[in-house]
Symmetry: C2
DNA sequence: ATCGCTGCAAAAATTTTGCAGGTAA
DNA sequence: TTACCTGCAAAATTTTTGCAGCGAT
């Protein structure tokens, strides 16, 4: 069983694979980028740029560099942006060959996050697209609720 | 057929009904609030605070007042916030007796918006909640694609 | 008369950008 | 060498807040 067998699990991808993806597009592998990718790789859930910044040891990297890196990585399809409705962008690593499409269940009290594999029914989505004449349709879907721990006061 | 028969259509609700909802909670009906509600009532789709501000004739109202009003209206359940993934909050009027739960199909090129009545299957949502021990589960769902007009270059 | 609300101004928070120098390839 | 990248600083947005005065009830 190869490390890539869980192609939807970013943690299954080595840092070398990630930097290789940068190299292929003739983008440079720098200290800040290595650090960002490593932090994303070690976190299973969407992180804000500020959280990534805070996760850096020492002053490894400027906040502006993180913003710039996330733009690049997003454009390259290496990270995906998620919005939990609080007005702050969050990013998660996307494995090679995966489109990173999945959803989350977020606790409205403690912000605990559970990854959800269920998806909006494809047939219904296609029907919605056809009904309105839209093409290349996708969706963003996030669930919110109160987690088990937060139910007992 | 009464004006309220389309309880999901904000335009079916008169301004008097809206101000009445404020009155019931002993909130004051002021010029800015009347203007905001009127603008929301006349627009069928989510608006940003800045768009509401721009829709005002003359300098009717301060931008800060709009932010404060949206917080109040949201807390009162009179408006609902939507996020289209660009980091800007958008608000839509919610009719009395309605929870405002619906979704949108957004053109990624021209930002045209179509309201979508289809919803994530309730049974599947309940199963997701049960499977993870969450309660009071809800969801946010938005569709994105290329609209008919934007398909012909 | 009260209490809430508004405008104005200032601040906070998030995100973007210009530029000069540094570094990966 | 030559693009690309980074830090720093400044700016552009978006959103929040303090305060004195005004206004709805």
């Amino acid at each position: 069983m190869k490390a890539h067998s869980h192609s939807h699990d970013p943690r299954g991808e080595q840092l070398a694979d990630l930097t290789g993806r940068l190299r292929k597009r003739s983008r440079k592998i720098t200290g800040p980028r290595r650090a960002i990718l490593e932090i994303l790789r070690q976190h299973p859930h969407p992180l804000t740029n500020r959280e990534i910044f805070a996760a850096m040891r020492e002053g490894n990297c400027d906040l502006a560099t993180i913003y710039r890196s996330m733009h690049l990585l997003q454009e390259m399809g290496m990270v995906k942006r998620f919005d939990f409705g609080d007005g702050v962008a969050r990013f998660e690593l996307v494995s090679e060959g995966d489109d990173g499409h999945h959803h989350h269940l977020v606790c409205v009290r403690c912000s605990r996050i559970v990854e959800i594999e269920d998806c909006f029914p494809r047939e219904l989505e296609e029907e919605i697209a056809a009904r309105n004449g839209f093409r290349a349709i996708t969706h963003k879907l996030e669930f919110f609720g109160v987690c088990p721990k937060c139910q007992s006061p």
